[in-house]
């Protein structure tokens, strides 16, 4: 059902954890729908220098969280804002159709963290 890449990111997720003094934190999903993602950012000069995630959810949710952190790391926040859920799914060689919902959270969580960072800058 899942691609090798999905299983790899599920088994060996990149960037799991929290950043205590994060510059931005994004939380999406809720316990009711079954997937929750929290993304923490460190931003330096508009570049994402560190990123970590914590996820409650299925294999797809964990793999997409891992992938989105990998894709966003080192990007400017403008570049990161252009990362779509679709792009994350494609980077994992696709997801089963019924799993698109779960994966839709990954980029959203990243964008929420960036928004939080920007709010803090104001």
């Amino acid at each position: 059902m899942y691609t090798e890449k999905v299983m790899d990111h599920f088994e060996n997720p990149r960037n799991v954890g929290e950043i205590p003094d994060a510059d931005g934190v994004g939380l999406v999903g809720n316990p009711t729908c079954g997937d929750i993602m929290k993304i923490y950012l460190k931003v330096d000069n508009d570049v994402i220098t560190d990123i970590k995630f914590k996820t409650f959810g299925c294999g797809a949710a964990i793999a997409t969280s891992s992938m989105v952190t990998e894709m966003a790391k080192g990007k400017t926040i403008n570049e990161a804002l252009r990362l779509s859920n679709q792009a994350v799914a494609e980077a994992l060689d696709g997801l089963p159709p019924q799993k698109m919902h779960c994966s839709n959270l990954a980029a959203d969580a990243l964008h929420a963290a960036i928004e939080n960072y920007r709010d803090k800058q104001k």
Partner: protein, 407 residues
């Protein structure tokens, strides 16, 4: 890799004795039971023998058994057939919130065809209360369908008491015994039911075969299938003789070994429950602690999600199932767990382990050994913990609906 199959409520391997019976009807006794000649007579005799075995296994008469394509068809046939024939007497049908979809969706379909439907609530153990049923019955009630044992949480319903209520009022009673068959005694007279469903693949028989028991004299009529006169007009279509012969043998063996196997499985079940509860924090047993199937274990693991547990277990060769939304293909977790008042986030962390003939103590040890690090790893990844998660209380705040909940 070591493989530990703990998903016997989903399906079971076919026993060699059953395969033998089946093969015989695929090759030697291949005749169509409706044919007059020697080959036909052989098919007919296999059919008759199987019918007798199934009947014996549940305390019925052979002519009260109708073979179907499985549990789903038998449930559909039972409910629809009673409803169609009795609609001049009343239009009210009662079922429970924890039924298998084969029953629940059939009853709901009747609801769209002018029938009035009552779906009984359950308590926090998934139990239907006799009091609730008594209150739900009206003079328009024609059928009550409540399962014998639940597939997701293993709770065994008080069918005898529930069916007695129905009988006293002249209402027909159907029970889905797909999960209880072969695990606990299933006897149609002792239960006092008019219709009862069983399925082959849950009792070490093949998939795609089942049976509906219809008590003699029951106001029921085939209303879904049109065709030939097979099964004395109760189920059209050339009989699945190999499947039927297999079902007969599977029923025979299940009953022969029930008493001994139930004791053995109960021991394994209770060891599994105890070890998980002792060794893994923040786990809840779902379903009734004692009034449950001898092979059935179901938990909710807090702060983590079912599918990610299943995937991790599968990597270690352990096969189980979950009622989380992400395994059901919908956004909703199991309707059974929700009906028991279990909050969504907890229901997403459900795991069902159903034991069978092939499981040993070593399997239980292997499971525990591997499950502990899996839970730990996923929890370390989860943003939820005991401080921020919705506080699930042992109160009846969520299962306010059942009158059997006197807490």
């Amino acid at each position: 890799m070591r493989r530990v199959y703990m998903d016997h409520s989903a399906t079971t391997p076919v026993r060699p004795e059953v395969v033998e019976e089946m093969l015989n009807c695929l090759t030697e006794k291949f005749g169509n039971p409706s044919s007059l000649h020697y080959f036909g007579r052989q098919g007919r005799s296999a059919l008759d023998e199987a019918r007798e075995k199934v009947a014996n296994a549940i305390g019925a008469k052979p002519e009260e058994i109708v073979f179907t394509s499985g549990g789903t068809e038998a449930d559909n046939m039972a409910i629809h057939g009673v409803a169609m024939l009795n609609q001049n007497r009343g239009n009210h049908v009662i079922t429970s919130a924890v039924e298998h979809h084969a029953v629940l969706n059939t009853v709901k379909a009747l609801g769209k065809q002018g029938f009035t439907v009552t779906i009984l609530p359950v308590d926090k153990f998934g139990m239907v209360s006799v009091e609730d049923l008594a209150n739900a019955i009206t003079d328009k009630t024609i059928l009550i369908s409540i399962m014998h044992a639940n597939n997701e949480v293993g709770t065994v319903q008080p069918i005898k008491e529930l069916a007695a209520l129905a009988r006293a009022k002249g209402i027909l009673f159907h029970t889905d015994a797909v999960q209880s068959m072969g695990k606990i005694p299933v006897n149609v007279d002792e239960l006092g039911v008019d219709l009862l469903t069983i399925s082959g693949h849950k009792i070490y028989g093949p998939k795609g075969i089942g049976a509906l028991y219809i008590r003699k004299g029951t106001r029921w009529r085939q209303s879904l299938f049109h065709g030939g006169a097979q099964e004395r007009l109760r189920r059209a279509g050339t009989e699945n003789v190999p499947g039927i012969a297999a079902l007969g043998r599977a029923c025979e063996l299940a009953v022969q070994e029930l008493a001994e196997e139930a004791v053995r499985l109960t021991g394994l079940r209770d060891k599994l429950i105890k070890e998980v509860m002792d060794k893994i924090p923040d786990v809840r047993l779902t379903g009734h602690p004692t009034k449950r199937l001898p092979n059935h274990v179901s938990f909710c693991f807090e702060f983590i999600e079912g599918e990610s547990m299943l995937l991790s277990m599968d990597m270690k060769g352990i096969a189980a199932s979950s009622g989380s939304a992400c395994t059901s293909g919908s956004l909703e977790p199991s309707h059974v767990l929700l009906a028991m008042g279990i909050p969504h986030e907890l229901a997403h962390g459900s795991i069902r382990l159903t034991l069978g003939r092939d499981n040993t103590e070593e399997d239980v040890d292997y499971f525990i050994e591997n499950m502990m690090p899996i839970v730990e790893r996923l929890r370390a990844m989860s943003p939820l913990n005991s401080e921020n998660e919705f506080d699930f209380e042992d109160s009846c705040a969520d299962c306010k609906v059942s009158s059997s909940c006197h807490l």
